[in-house]
């Protein structure tokens, strides 16, 4: 009995530590970014660039999950978080053409994320559709370490259809949530 309690405590401690680590990770990556700017180390810079793009992706996936679980309030919060990450994205290390494209994508995505931060769930899902296109186009430029699945539900918005990105192959539909959780299919794999 006592060993089980001990094991449970250990697991809790470990997971708590993990939680702390994740929290601490954000400001640290900022510092790293500063250092690499001073170093003018191209490799480090591109790594950092990826870190920023990854932050956007993470926020996007959290937002997607909130929509999957029909959580309007959570999605509002995460929409605003995503808007912040988007605004923090620094495009300066990309080529001129890529910069123009990325700025355009980010401006558009930020507007959608901000609207998600203040809308009811029906509106949130409408904005999420265009946002998903923006994020997909962003990833096409920035790349990612993650394996992603582009998924598609043909029934969304009176059979107009809607696509989204996911880290899991299994379908969890952000446009219908519990109403039609598994509607959709993988239409493309990224990486």
């Amino acid at each position: 009995m006592s060993t089980m309690a001990l094991a449970a405590t250990m697991i809790l401690t470990v997971s708590c530590k993990d939680g702390n680590k994740e929290e601490a990770a954000a400001p640290m990556s900022n510092e790293m970014h500063q250092e690499s700017m001073d170093d003018k180390d191209d490799m480090a810079m591109s790594d950092n660039q990826d870190a920023k793009a990854e932050a956007i992706l993470n926020d996007y996936f959290n937002l997607k999950d909130a929509l999957v679980s029909d959580d309007n309030g959570k999605a509002k919060e995460l929409g605003n978080t995503l808007a912040k990450s988007l605004k923090a994205f620094d495009v300066s290390n990309y080529s001129d053409n890529e910069q123009t494209e990325l700025k355009d994508i980010i401006e558009d995505a930020t507007e959608h994320a901000e609207h998600i931060g203040e809308s009811d769930i029906k509106h949130q899902r409408e904005h999420f559709k265009t946002l998903s296109k923006d994020v997909t186009d962003m990833v096409a430029i920035t790349g990612t370490d993650k394996k992603l699945y582009e998924q598609f539900c043909p029934m969304y918005n009176n059979n107009e259809g809607g696509a989204w990105l996911s880290m899991n192959e299994e379908i969890r539909n952000p446009y219908f949530g519990s109403q039609m959780l598994k509607c959709g299919k993988v239409q493309r794999e990224i990486n």
Binding site: E107, D108, T130, D134
Partner: protein
């Protein structure tokens, strides 16, 4: 009774004083080359609908009735116009990328369809800004063709 009189005087003085604050009018004589009407071939009826129902808050030129020059109405209006132009400025249409145009058109269509635009607080006074059924249909159809052309 005396208290009421004092309050009335204070209110009156405050009302007069706020009239003295400078107002930032949304006025522009020139229509830039990037205007929605100049870069698209817009049917006359649709153009009129947009001018009457949208351009006051979604362009650089507002047609102010006299009462909209009186504070605090003017402040309330200034906020709306600022926000409206941030979301969508028809005068700047050609400056939007295709991606942005697509998003703007999506919003225009959705909000007109749902009756969110023009705003109730606007049509309350501007009765002529309310879309008739035909006007609404014509505007929506035109916006949808523009959006389809982008895709």
């Amino acid at each position: 009774m005396k208290v009421l009189k004092i309050i009335a005087w204070i209110a009156l003085i405050a009302f007069v004083v706020i009239q003295l604050f400078p107002m930032d009018y949304n006025k522009s004589e020139a229509v830039p080359q990037t205007d929605f009407m100049l870069v698209n071939i817009v049917p006359a009826t649709v153009e009129k609908s947009l001018q009457v129902s949208c351009y006051d808050c979604h362009s650089n030129n507002t047609k102010y009735p006299w009462y909209n020059k009186v504070q605090p109405v003017a402040w309330f209006l200034e906020d709306h116009i600022k926000e409206g132009k941030e979301e969508l400025n028809f005068n700047e249409w050609a400056n939007y990328s295709n991606r942005r145009k697509n998003s703007k058109l999506r919003s225009i269509i959705k909000q007109i369809e749902n009756g969110e635009m023009p705003l109730d607080s606007y049509t309350l006074i501007h009765r002529d800004a309310i879309f008739s059924k035909e006007e609404k249909e014509a505007v929506l159809n035109y916006m949808k063709t523009l959006k389809d052309d982008l895709e």
